[in-house]
Subunit: 435 residues, 2 copies
Amino acid sequence: MMKNSDMRAFFVNQGQIDPEKYIRVEYTFESLTQPDLVAAHLCQEMSTAQWKRVDVDEDFRPDFAAKVIALESEEINQPSCPSLAKTTLPDYQQVFRVNVIIAYPYQNFGTKIPNLLTVLCGEGVFHAPFISSIRLMDIHFPDNFLADFQGPQFGISGLRDMLDIYDRPILLGVIKPNVGLPPIPFAELAYQAWLGGLDIAKEDEQMSDAAWSSLADRSKLLGEKRALAEKETGQKKIYLANVTDEINRILPLHDIAVKNGANAVMLNSMTTGISAMRMLRKHSRVPITSHFDLFGAMTQIPFHGVREVVFTKIQRLAGMDIMVYPGFSGRLKTTEEDILASVQACTEQMGNLKTTLPVPAGSQWAGSLETLYNKLQSIDFGIVPGRGVFNHPMGPKGGAVSLRQGWDAVKSGTPIVEYAQGHRELQLAVEMHRS
Amino acid sequence: MMKNSDMRAFFVNQGQIDPEKYIRVEYTFESLTQPDLVAAHLCQEMSTAQWKRVDVDEDFRPDFAAKVIALESEEINQPSCPSLAKTTLPDYQQVFRVNVIIAYPYQNFGTKIPNLLTVLCGEGVFHAPFISSIRLMDIHFPDNFLADFQGPQFGISGLRDMLDIYDRPILLGVIKPNVGLPPIPFAELAYQAWLGGLDIAKEDEQMSDAAWSSLADRSKLLGEKRALAEKETGQKKIYLANVTDEINRILPLHDIAVKNGANAVMLNSMTTGISAMRMLRKHSRVPITSHFDLFGAMTQIPFHGVREVVFTKIQRLAGMDIMVYPGFSGRLKTTEEDILASVQACTEQMGNLKTTLPVPAGSQWAGSLETLYNKLQSIDFGIVPGRGVFNHPMGPKGGAVSLRQGWDAVKSGTPIVEYAQGHRELQLAVEMHRS
């Protein structure tokens, strides 16, 4: 264990540091011994683990150590995961729940996403001694740090300009069936949904450049159908192609898809690395969406891992225009508080970065518009049903019509179920949702 | 809920499928209702969520659905994380612990790592309905799948050839202090450790191409010191440079470091994306190491997330020669069973792929060699102390000597503490470890 004199070097008053030089990081952890000492060990492990050479009079902590600027703790009866506590410290006697705010000097690594994740979510944090579980709760960047990032290219207002829609939420739909359906009928489904009033036809996160549906073939057909749908409806439409692939294939696939008529692209960004999104942002001239694969492994345990809002913020830095993430449904296993924290992270002031359109997703249908509008109290969001549009009894066109009717209901202040009575597509959607 | 007739399409007897077309995936999950039905939903969500178009007589499940090939379950008293169960299904009545083996048709996406992670650890898995927590336990690839991957370029035998060491474990050390120490004294520390008998001087996962220590400056000095150490000792030495950075900087940094004399490189591969390692493997002619940042957020909860062995295997596919990962110490929060599973995943037959050197790491010193040799029953491993070498009272040279003495003790069958009596460096290491 660290000596008391050493411990003090890992604490500082907020007023004593230059806020432009530090990232503020919030953790909640369970400590198996004295909280302030354990917080100091955490800071040590995530920065200057050994702060001097043997037999040299020096100390790297003033400039390079992570430092606690706020700490509160309470003793609790037992750890949230007793088996993990036993592995960590077999003979622990006490457990504390500790909230800390840590100031991290980002000169340690600069303004690079992989290195940021290394210090915030690395060995130093998840394997710090005497900590049985730890959750990265939030992160706040100084403007100096933010200035090195491009952020979203379009943001909410750019997306609205692209679609020429200013008075309602954006209607996305995940084209289904997807896995197994060849490009020709796949493109036809998107076309039908566009005709019905869908704004953005989005490829599923599981879609890829596969032998049974190459992105080249698929995007050509979707691009043609998008042009046709725009002509027939007089409305702007977006085809959102999934370009998730090995790192060296992302930009080539982007180029193929965009040349063929995709006017937005998606990355499953934790599976490629969020840095790949930053690379794509530098290259692309179309909006970028993210899908949340791999997040569940980190975000769902309430006392461990990483709170989703952290990834929302880092992806906004990286250039994400549209944030698809777990929304209001038990299946999505995300609390209302966490969902709304990500909405705020998408839209709040963040240096000079543009905003990101929040799309709290999962198991949606026309009726979800009511929920989303009530929870968010804003029209600046997207909805992204899959089966709710594409498995509609009248097909994707009817499904898309039901979305438009759903919004009409919300706009007129009429409950969905009541409004549905005079609107067949919405009525069928209500019945499908009930069954 | 799915109908019973639909459910059956997600079950198959192992003998009915071509094993070369399927990845076998093992999950353990907690189910809030009927286990077989929930397993079918899991398969549905991770593959063909909607398996037919409206009003079309078709079924994509035979060719494209994930399918359960084995299932066992038992009712348990309560979920491991009750709050998560309540979010998932507020009025749950029963809880089952379920083990399944699922056959996944990899033609769905091909042989690409981000897309593999999408299906195995994506929305379909971590947000499958009626599942309150789920852990990806293991994965088994058919030879057809493996054939598309290069795997390690060197493997254990290639590393041994490089170092000309055939009769003992490989001695790595993490150069410390690291964060804050300028390149000149940093290189001197590595030099001293090499003189003392260290084989591989490794940069910490927090080292980067930073303003206060550019990789260009640092690697030039380290490269020179490596050549000098080889000349003075007559032994082969490795300098392992950390090239973790934004995606587009990884290959340029690799080139700079290798040109300057780095003869191995490291990626913090989950922070860059494992695909970045595959990219690096295609480009590089030196061994590649991985560090386990971000894994703790996914691997530590025993009933949720991803078991480390899965990442071990995927990184071996990607080309990892040396696997640094959490080893035998409470702080590392990893069970002995899981540590040994990764050792096996590094060294077992896996198509025609070369092996990976396992380095179960964390808080190590000379005495850890005894533990490692006893647990692994092999000399095919690495040890990687940081402070155990570089904070040794006699400095890094003495620290490295203590490692050599530690191995001499193991080789002679003498307990470390006993052997230390005649060996000053080891004696001091024992005393430092005790304090």
